[in-house]
Symmetry: C2
Subunit: 228 residues, 2 copies
Amino acid sequence: MTEKDWEKWVRMIADEYDLDLGKTNKETLKQKKILEAAIHIFAEKGFSGSSTSEIAERAGVAEATIFKHYRTKKGLLLRLVIPAIAKVASPWITRSALKILEQDKPFRERVEDVILDRVLLIETNWKKIKIILVESLFHPELREAIQTHVAKSVFPVMSEKIKQLQAEGELRRDLPDYVLLRSVISMAIGYLLARNVFPEQLAQSEEKDEISMIAEVLLKGVGGSHGD
Amino acid sequence: MTEKDWEKWVRMIADEYDLDLGKTNKETLKQKKILEAAIHIFAEKGFSGSSTSEIAERAGVAEATIFKHYRTKKGLLLRLVIPAIAKVASPWITRSALKILEQDKPFRERVEDVILDRVLLIETNWKKIKIILVESLFHPELREAIQTHVAKSVFPVMSEKIKQLQAEGELRRDLPDYVLLRSVISMAIGYLLARNVFPEQLAQSEEKDEISMIAEVLLKGVGGSHGD
DNA sequence: GATATAAGTGAGTAATCACTCACTTACCAA
DNA sequence: TTGGTAAGTGAGTGATTACTCACTTATATC
């Protein structure tokens, strides 16, 4: 799937499920309520575990109203998920990270800033991200879309930046760029998981200090004096 | 929840759902087939997305047979999940990692060995782990059980080992032990996720080489010459 | 070989599911 | 004010769901 294929795919799915994707649209109050309720309930119970009647009740709307706007339950899911994926993969969301890395500060501080930025970004969109991650495990079309779209539009940009930082001597040159990229992402995601699942054991300090330590480990490693 | 509370909890759930937990039991061939089919289908479609009729069909068994042995659909889920959690948190599974760390080898090699060991362990039990992780998001009792059990019985052991390695000079002493533990886990999980979701972009080399690079990043960091 | 106990099943059942349809209500432009 | 269109709904529908029960079959012990 190339970038153009992605756009085609979005249009195709949008047609198939009569999605508006929130672009041209002026949404009704009730439509907003439905989307709000759906995010809450899908995140809490998963797609299969949620019922349209429950979503309707929480939104204060007749069940039929949901089907008026989104045709099927899966149409409702995709109306939530596809714009979110498109947003994650849009240029500006990558660009804001690049901007931070280009600021006039010590490299160490820039690394902390960019990690904090991404952590906050994920935290504020946590429910939607949870839905996307979980449902991508069970809906192959979704998984494939994320794979190809994120892989083809986000990674190359980040990869380029890393190569530049390697050339500038900020990052070591004896490891491939994808390993360095994966390491940064791993440490950030690992921190978020730890904070959510084992906060008392694995994330005991203030967020600011935790991120500072993440940057420290990332740049210098965990090895002690013996390894030198 | 203390360790004794955990045992109580297991017995309580076992009573509530009539679980045998595979300890005293001689399982029938059909029971094995049911468990096999359930693992496959729960992993593929999620708990809510799976139907008992489908599980029965795949196992080559009448639907009523499932309810004969496991009383409810959730009873079947717990029969899969609870022994797996108990196993993960059992002493020997932690001990095998500690054994590796105590071998008479350079520290760098021991780190590689232990990462490889855990990666293989997760890979061979991937379906069950997937079920546990996903369903713990939606069943609070499960989440709590994992949290307290793993947190209270696995982390302290690992934490102790890390402090010892810090004292020996193999790991740096200027960061708290939980940050070092979290870093190792993050890098391993990050690698597994990358291998599963973005293999072409984020896990391009042979497993052996990837793990060697993970150990390298972990011990020495990603920072370049500028940072020295 | 008789008997007791457990394993296994076919044919249900009530409840819930996603979804439809005929209909009413709200909105807006001419 | 009117007329056309979209928003919204109450009352359904057939299909599927987890689960039950009366019953048969297999197994093990004496």
